[in-house]
Symmetry: D2
Subunit: 303 residues, 4 copies
Amino acid sequence: MQEIVKRAYAWAEGFLGQGHAATFIPELTKQDPNQLGIAITTCDGASYQVGDCHAKFTIQSISKLFLLAVALEDSGFDHVFSRVGMEPSGDQFNSIYRLETERGPANPMINAGAIAVSGCIHGDTVEQRVEKVLALAAACMGVSEVERSAEVFRCEVETGHRNRALAHMMQGNGVLDGDVNEHLETYYHACSMLVDCAMLSRFGAVLANGGQDLNSDRQLLGKETARLLRTLMASCGLYNRAGEFAWRVGVPAKSGSGGGIMAAMPGRMGIGTFSPLLDERGNSVCGQKALEYLSRELELSVY
Amino acid sequence: MQEIVKRAYAWAEGFLGQGHAATFIPELTKQDPNQLGIAITTCDGASYQVGDCHAKFTIQSISKLFLLAVALEDSGFDHVFSRVGMEPSGDQFNSIYRLETERGPANPMINAGAIAVSGCIHGDTVEQRVEKVLALAAACMGVSEVERSAEVFRCEVETGHRNRALAHMMQGNGVLDGDVNEHLETYYHACSMLVDCAMLSRFGAVLANGGQDLNSDRQLLGKETARLLRTLMASCGLYNRAGEFAWRVGVPAKSGSGGGIMAAMPGRMGIGTFSPLLDERGNSVCGQKALEYLSRELELSVY
Amino acid sequence: MQEIVKRAYAWAEGFLGQGHAATFIPELTKQDPNQLGIAITTCDGASYQVGDCHAKFTIQSISKLFLLAVALEDSGFDHVFSRVGMEPSGDQFNSIYRLETERGPANPMINAGAIAVSGCIHGDTVEQRVEKVLALAAACMGVSEVERSAEVFRCEVETGHRNRALAHMMQGNGVLDGDVNEHLETYYHACSMLVDCAMLSRFGAVLANGGQDLNSDRQLLGKETARLLRTLMASCGLYNRAGEFAWRVGVPAKSGSGGGIMAAMPGRMGIGTFSPLLDERGNSVCGQKALEYLSRELELSVY
Amino acid sequence: MQEIVKRAYAWAEGFLGQGHAATFIPELTKQDPNQLGIAITTCDGASYQVGDCHAKFTIQSISKLFLLAVALEDSGFDHVFSRVGMEPSGDQFNSIYRLETERGPANPMINAGAIAVSGCIHGDTVEQRVEKVLALAAACMGVSEVERSAEVFRCEVETGHRNRALAHMMQGNGVLDGDVNEHLETYYHACSMLVDCAMLSRFGAVLANGGQDLNSDRQLLGKETARLLRTLMASCGLYNRAGEFAWRVGVPAKSGSGGGIMAAMPGRMGIGTFSPLLDERGNSVCGQKALEYLSRELELSVY
């Protein structure tokens, strides 16, 4: 396996330099663009790592999965999915125009959806809500504590005009209650979690393992919640490149504009990749390539 | 003339009860729906009034003209029209979807446009900016001071989620700077001005008179500004009913969801109408009917 | 007057070379791009001409007015306007997306609208219907017969995929009956009429004259029909540049992608201009400039 | 297994009467709405059938898979996917508005996509092209010959205004060459194939079996083609209900407005269901319910 990961690295490395850094958050452009890391954690706990597997980056959209898991725990499936759909939207991750004609966002993996989901997390303060997200994230990624980038958080708050517009549209449509700024802050705190691709691979392995901890019989996530997350990853995890990714890789996965991708191969393994440059849809170029290679070699496609 | 206005009243009265009260501002639904007033002020200062010509209502969208006039004064034509267009949009007054693909709003007569325009008014505080609008409005409407409805203002702030979304979209697009909440408040203060249809007819007469005061040779508005306002009224003044209104009435006019309509017949007269029930595009039903009658009888169409 | 037209020519000439030839009809790109003609016909029959006033070009969209006039004659106002609206659309002249959510086209001056209108012209064959259009056009333009460009007609049929799509959408929406190809052919025949700007100015003068012939008391168009055409020209005549044109010129006008513009100043005069290069919305660049100059000098704006 | 299928039938039967018959093809409304059939064919050739498994109905959109397979064979992957994408669109199956801004249709499973794909099938005549589709369909469904409904074909040709509009838009966009009517006819012939749910289950089993015949080692479809079809079914197979279906069922599937659904569980089995009443997205209500039950009982979800 280690050998295959090395070969995946060698192949994906050939695409370094392609794509562009995320521009909407100035802080993200400061990353070294030549980083590449690939980590695998199998469901029985073995791990394989090649490249920059301990370089830290912000989790960004991959946190949408933690937000959703906590919201489901707090508000229940029916409440959450009365406010957000589960259909791929065919649009950019920050698109607003469908909220003109449809009440709620298409799915929890686009920005509008994640903000609506954040509004379903209970707590008296932002920090209380964020604590739940952090605790779940730490458990799923096998660390005692998850740090956050205060710089990226601040940057997202300052530049997040579009997200603010999405939130107010949803409040007008009746799918977001309470203090819009609090929900946006909850979302940005989650996005600013610092992770590495080894941690992502661990999260993927937990999802692949039906939500159960790898070292104990503890359910970090309910079994059905884990399946729901994997399903949404498969149909909406790479924004409006989800369809092509399904063909090239075929494994439920979620990308983040920080450069990370997390994939969960049911019953077998989790994979984390990291490389900062993104394609025009906002997904890591080399990360996709690494996953494509691994899928072919390990026959991972679920389809 | 008084006779013709009476006949216009009698005809328009037959349509009382048609349409619906504006629902997006709860305060507006409290109006007596059976009110109807028609007032004419000619460019030489004569006035003709029939019906509820001194019933007060909030000016709402008709204030967009004052906002634009002040913004032009403060920031100049080129700056203002680098941020907002002058084309009819074909969409509802509060539509957001075009801001996904176009940088600025289509014209200053839809909500997004008026908010962008509010952002072009100079002043250290909201109140400073509002003062300018109030002063111009008072001069143009021939009163010493214009009152505002604190209740409607509060109501608009509380329920204006869509407008807030529009403002943040525009900030993201780079056509609205500074503190979004201040611009929205400026806009809402302007909307909450209390007027009657006699005052509106006076404003119309000033516009018809090339911006010049009716009693003096003072230019309340620049001559070109007056023409610009009349032109924008003609193409965008009744939202996405502007085209049909051009055919049925053919006079530059601006409607407000408070139930008012103000029309300016170049060189001849201003007309103000008031009746609270609106058609599905947000324009007073009986007000349109009264104007249609007057246009036919007085051969007002400019086309 | 002749002096003013000369000065308008001199000023507009300075913009020759700006813009681009219509590309969607290959035949239209063969025009000499440096042509410019300006013709005025007053309501009392005087005429003033400077430049290429007898160069022939295809009338294109200006024919939409003749199509509408014949359709109103054949099917009546209520029938025609149950199928097409009278609102500016805010979109490109050949846009289709609104037909997804709205039954009929926004107005008769965009392609979809003109095709729907063609479907309201009675006749057993295409040629019968086209004859009516040609007869009306000849009378209004003061010629015994209007020629057509067989080459442009053929070209439009061959390349008109988008128009065909519009027609089939409308047939699906129930606003276009019968043989779609016949309606498209009727439309293309009308578009292929060969005119010069002197002829256009004559047409404008007839419209300006309330539809009455300039040499007799014969009504070539009903008075109300003439006002309807002028009104639609004002709000929709220059596609999605109608609003800016209203500000810069302020005279009801209709442009064609062949390079012509026809304007009708109520009670005073008609103006025809010709220059082939178009702005990005499809309107002749130098024609607009000439009209802008004339409007300023002759104080033509109706607003 | 037969027991489980019986229980699935009993459960799904409880939803008979819900939904509505397809209305866009009058012929389809003539079906008995109370029919329900469920058929399973395993990859080793065993079959289990309950209910109306031999009632014939038209295959409709499920034929899009055969069209795509033949087009890939004739024109190659690169050519086909230069004209059509592989992303879920988030829109109705017959939506046109995206073709205004995007060159080609989102994926081969919506109408526009299938028409574009039909244009990639080689052949001198419509019948030659249709023959290829019929031959592949017969082989995959385990019958010697597939019949067609001339009545439904005629009906689709007559009422297919929207599809004609889609085709002409694509011709204008340069993603559909040649005679549009021929491509539409090819598509309609494919849609009018008469199948039963036993046949569909057989097709599903062949897809599940990597394209290999169940009785021989013959590849009816290339292994990669089979995976491509399964992948597209997973992301786009149930129109804009694909996401919810992924959660409730989780098996690559394709629905048709004739009432059929075909599912392919990789390596295990194919499932065919039939029940005519459809949900508002165009998918058989009881068929979905049957698949939901089977997925739960047999743990079929691939996610």
